[in-house]
């Protein structure tokens, strides 16, 4: 089926969302009815609402689903049931017909795909987050040509503006609670629709990282790229998740894991500009080397933020309570107005997180194949959600730059755990 029906006019989108709102409302009514009778189960209620909202968002695709996904990045913002539903979401636009791909080419280059390339696949060989990839050849070279769905940037923008208040209401979050986070994520999402920026970042990062061992990048072709089309070499390789699930020997796993670790270490701690989407589909394995194929989502951090954020890796943080307290206040995780009990809870939770998340750095060599490590990380997240007073803390805490920095590290840890890789590490700085 080339196209599922996507409610496209604004009116039908409103109608669909109102439908979800009504369903959530009904579930609440049922819940309160049950409670009046002595029953009632808040977790069950979240569960029901989450799938009602998710159904609606996935039918709308585009902006609303992206918004839902971005709210699920920081899992503490959402009740777990919502976060689980949305974490599964994999945004995919409906496939573009070949005539529309040809039209996009003519708009961007004044020529059709077959006037530029010797061969060009009429249907997409794979989906990309907001477009699709075609395979093309020219003079014996093979290319991956990513074509964006028309109007995706514009509709993302208007959807976000329009959907945000409705979505926040459905999920029971207040705008000012999450406003800075939403602004940050919105900006990253809009950047993803700008292929000209992606081209520039891809070329820049692959040049800067060229000296890393076992990390490879396809060449990018600016002459066949534009705001809507991005052309690079075609790389034949095994996606990282399939490699991880294969019977690859430990030595290969370690080599790929080390390449991944070095890639992120160099970007975050030396370049302060990094690939912020450690999704397994963005990496291919060929000849025991790691190929990085998608720079759609990148994040730049300032040296000052880097210093304040990564100083928590300093082992003395775990012993020296005053230092920890000062550093947390410095990042605005703690505020002078917080009650002593709340301070205590936050400090305890942060010390536990630092102890676990910093472990790979402290140990010098770390085995991500140890399944208990990831379980401990998940447990910390669960603990922090259970503490209801943490969720009630007024305003969002911590720097917005932390969202994608943490996402990059969390993603990196997950990939390494999946690879069951042993990695040599060192303290940054």
């Amino acid at each position: 089926m080339e196209q599922d029906s996507i409610p496209s006019t604004r009116l039908s989108r409103i109608a669909a969302l109102t439908g979800a709102g009504a369903k959530v409302g009904l579930n609440y009514l049922k819940h309160y009815g049950q409670r009046a009778l002595g029953g009632g189960d808040v977790a069950g209620l979240h569960e029901q609402n989450a799938s009602a909202v998710y159904d609606t968002f996935s039918r709308l695709k585009g902006g609303p689903l992206k918004l839902a996904q971005m709210l699920s990045i920081d899992q503490n913002l959402l009740p777990p049931a919502y976060a689980r539903e949305f974490a599964q979401a994999q945004y995919s636009a409906p496939p573009l017909s070949y005539p529309l791909v040809a039209r996009t080419f003519r708009r961007e280059f004044g020529k059709s795909p077959t006037e530029i390339f010797d061969t060009f696949t009429q249907s997409a060989v794979q989906g990309a987050s907001i477009g699709q990839v075609h395979r093309a050849t020219l003079g014996g070279r093979s290319f991956a040509v990513k074509v964006q769905y028309p109007g995706v940037a514009e509709s993302l923008q208007s959807d976000l503006r329009f959907i945000k208040p409705v979505a926040l209401q459905i999920m029971g979050l207040s705008e000012n609670q999450v406003a800075p986070y939403i602004a940050e994520v919105e900006q990253r999402l809009l950047e993803e629709t700008d292929y000209a920026l992606e081209l520039a970042r891809s070329i820049e990062l692959s040049r800067l990282c060229a000296q890393l061992t076992n990390v490879r990048f396809p060449a990018y072709y600016s002459e066949y790229s534009s705001a809507r089309i991005l052309t690079s070499d075609w790389i034949d390789g095994l996606p990282l998740d399939r490699f991880a699930d294969s019977d690859a020997p430990q030595a290969s796993r370690d080599r790929i894991g080390q390449a991944l670790w070095d890639f992120y270490e160099y970007q975050i701690h030396t370049l302060h500009l990094f690939h912020a989407d450690p999704h397994p589909g963005n990496f291919l394995i060929r000849d025991d080397q790691l190929w990085v194929i998608d720079f759609g989502c990148t994040k730049k951090i300032e040296p000052d933020f880097h210093r304040r954020h990564f100083r928590f890796l300093d082992p003395s943080m775990l012993e020296n309570r005053t230092l920890l307290e000062e550093s947390l206040a410095d990042l605005e995780v703690l505020r002078p107005s917080d009650s002593p009990e709340l301070r205590e809870k936050v400090i305890t939770l942060c010390r536990e997180s630092i102890a676990i998340l910093g472990r790979p750095f402290r140990d010098g060599e770390f085995d991500f194949g140890d399944a208990s490590f990831m379980r401990e990380i998940y447990a910390i997240g669960e603990d922090s959600r259970q503490m209801s007073d943490l969720r009630k803390m007024e305003g969002a805490r911590g720097s917005v730059h932390g969202i994608y920095t943490n996402r990059a590290y969390f993603g990196l840890y997950s990939l390494l755990a999946r690879l069951r890789a042993r990695v040599r590490t060192r303290m940054p700085g």
Partner: protein
């Protein structure tokens, strides 16, 4: 080219389009129109029997130009019926950027089902093109044959095309990108309907609801 050596027919057609663009409305009378051009009424009526017939030819020529340009494309013969219709609609959207002001004047006030006499040539040429696409779709299996009912397909395509034109005229997105998406979606819907039993069911329902005189 020197105005005077071109045939009166072509001069009348060009002048008519120019007048629509300049004034936003049709000439008040044939006499006024021809005398402004330095032609006689006789020269007008030797070529066209009315202003409607002349305008009909103006629009037929526009659509014919787009059809010929897509049909001569190198990939055309390999395209499916759906790809052919899409290619035509995108080409029309592109071509109509040169005609936008006059399209707004003439098509703007219409709804997709209204068909004034000055659209006769346009409709005829499109139906002819639609028939060729449908025949191709029948041969590739994209379009199911339904006997007598198949005859309404060209009109269904025409309505879809006119809807695209109206959408395009109201589109305010940058580079009219929403029109591209609209073309994709309406064409997908049209072909899905022609491929499945939906049209049969609709026809069956209509036959049931419309009272029969024989009974």
């Amino acid at each position: 080219m020197d105005e005077e050596i071109r045939p009166p027919r072509q001069r009348l057609l060009d002048a008519y389009l120019r007048q629509l663009r300049e004034t936003g409305h049709r000439p008040d009378s044939v006499w006024k129109f021809t005398s402004d051009l330095g032609l006689s009424e006789r020269e007008f009526f030797e070529n066209f029997s009315s202003l409607d017939v002349l305008e009909s030819e103006v629009w037929r020529a526009q659509i014919d130009h787009v059809i010929q340009s897509v049909e001569s494309g190198s990939e055309w013969t390999g395209f499916t019926a759906r790809q052919r219709l899409l290619t035509f609609l995108f080409a029309w959207a592109e071509h109509s950027l040169d005609l936008r002001s006059v399209l707004l004047t003439r098509f703007g006030p219409l709804n997709p089902l209204q068909s004034p006499p000055w659209l006769d040539g346009f409709n005829r040429r499109f139906r002819e093109f639609a028939k060729s696409i449908i025949a191709h779709g029948r041969s590739t299996g994209e379009i199911a044959g339904r006997g007598v009912l198949t005859r309404i397909y060209p009109d269904a395509f025409l309505t879809a095309f006119r809807t695209v034109i109206q959408f395009h005229l109201r589109d305010t997105s940058p580079s009219f990108e929403r029109t591209d998406a609209f073309i994709e979606k309406t064409t997908a819907l049209s072909f899905d309907l022609l491929h499945t039993q939906a049209i049969d069911s609709a026809f069956d329902l209509a036959r049931f609801l419309v009272p029969s005189r024989d009974r």
